[in-house]
Amino acid sequence: MRLVVAMTGATGAIIGVRLLEALRELEVETHLVVSRWARATIAEETPYTVREVTDLASVGYSPDDQGAAISSGSFRTDGMIVAPCSMKTVAGIRTGYADGLIGRAADVTLKERRRLVLLARELPLSTIHLENLLALSQMGATVLPPAPAFYNHPSSIADIVEHIVGRTLDQFGLDLPTVRRWGGMRQGAHPRAVTSPRDRHSMGDDSVAATA
């Protein structure tokens, strides 16, 4: 499998980094573009250098390289992930404003009807953001905001990131073994390690009394 991965300047660079690691572990060929402002978030938010991040990919391109292989639909890939995806990138892809390689690669992905997954991160979302995201969804892109889940009882940021990365990989039929999948509501107590007795009481969890 061959996937295009783009990192843009929204907060959450670590998600892109873990995604690249996971794809490497799964032996997926990755073609990576790191935007100007993703370089800044990598430096600001993670302990890695940009070089260490780009080394995780099979092939790397400059965000200004409009002649790169991935700028053409004739270069076959199985899809593209933008992680994290800024609202500016969302807007650019929606409007077809492909002034850089990331916008162009996404444009190509959509026209060739390959899967495009956007880890669109912004809070709150304005009307304009929502209109852009809606339009992208209607155009066939998958809008995958990197929001944490709690049913898998994460106990660290790494857990939260792992789950988001796992759900992203699911979009391409790739299985990350560390993902804790929902198998149905368990009857009985919640794991004690995660909630305090006060929390369980306020949630109205009567089953606690039975197991205490």
Binding site: W37, K88, L123, P124, I128, H129
Partner: protein, 211 residues
């Protein structure tokens, strides 16, 4: 009652920077305003140089705009990591005066290519007041559609159209009154001279010598 208003002001590549100067003077003078973040786009600098007859560099432009108070901080519009890039940085309102049609278009589409457009994007998502003083005429269909989009998203489109009922005699008077109306929108009104009472305004009475 003391207030601690933080205002973001952007000057972009359209005409009318004389009003920007008046607005900045008022904000610097107002004790209710504790901080102003000022961004002048590259084209905004060209317009300041053109209209004030100065050089285009950042320092000359800041001087020409009279942005000299220590409570004004000049931000680089090319620096997308600047303070106003994040909703977590608090400011109360943003004014883009003048607002070029291209800037309006990019804000309407969420295409935050520089820090000015990103700050406006942030204002909309945080539901803070965003006033766009568009200076453009005639308006093509794209301009009109973009004005509708930003209005639907919560912005106020405040075209730089003068009023006449105050019987202005000079450009300076027109600009003074426009600046005051923008300040009113920001909740920073300073004078009642332009208040219409059903028949006239104090400014009009002054100019026309009528009771």
């Amino acid at each position: 009652m003391p207030e601690n208003r933080r205002i973001t002001v952007a000057v972009t590549g359209a005409g009318g920077v004389g009003v920007s100067k008046r607005l900045l003077a008022a904000l610097q003078d107002d004790d209710r305003v504790t901080h102003v973040d000022l961004l002048v786009s590259a084209n905004g600098r060209k317009l300041v140089a053109l209209e004030f007859g100065t050089q285009e560099d950042r320092d000359s432009v800041a001087q020409a705009l009279g942005a000299t108070s220590p409570k004004v901080r000049l931000l680089d519009p090319a620096d997308l990591a600047g303070p106003v890039t994040s909703g977590s940085y608090p400011y109360d309102a943003m004014v883009i005066l003048p607002c070029a049609a291209g800037v309006l278009g990019r804000i309407a589409h969420g295409l935050a290519l520089d820090l000015i457009e990103r700050a406006a994007d942030v204002a909309l998502k945080e539901r803070r007041r965003l006033v766009l003083c568009l200076r453009e005429t005639p308006l093509n269909l794209a301009h009109l559609r973009n004005m509708v989009s930003v209005t639907e998203a919560g912005a106020i489109v405040f075209p730089m159209i003068p009023t006449y009922y105050n019987a202005p005699e000079t450009l300076a008077e027109l600009q003074d009154e426009f600046a005051e109306r923008v300040l009113q929108l920001l909740g920073l009104q300073r004078t009642d001279r332009y208040r219409w009472d059903g028949e006239s305004t104090p400014a009009r009475r002054e100019h026309t010598g009528t009771p």
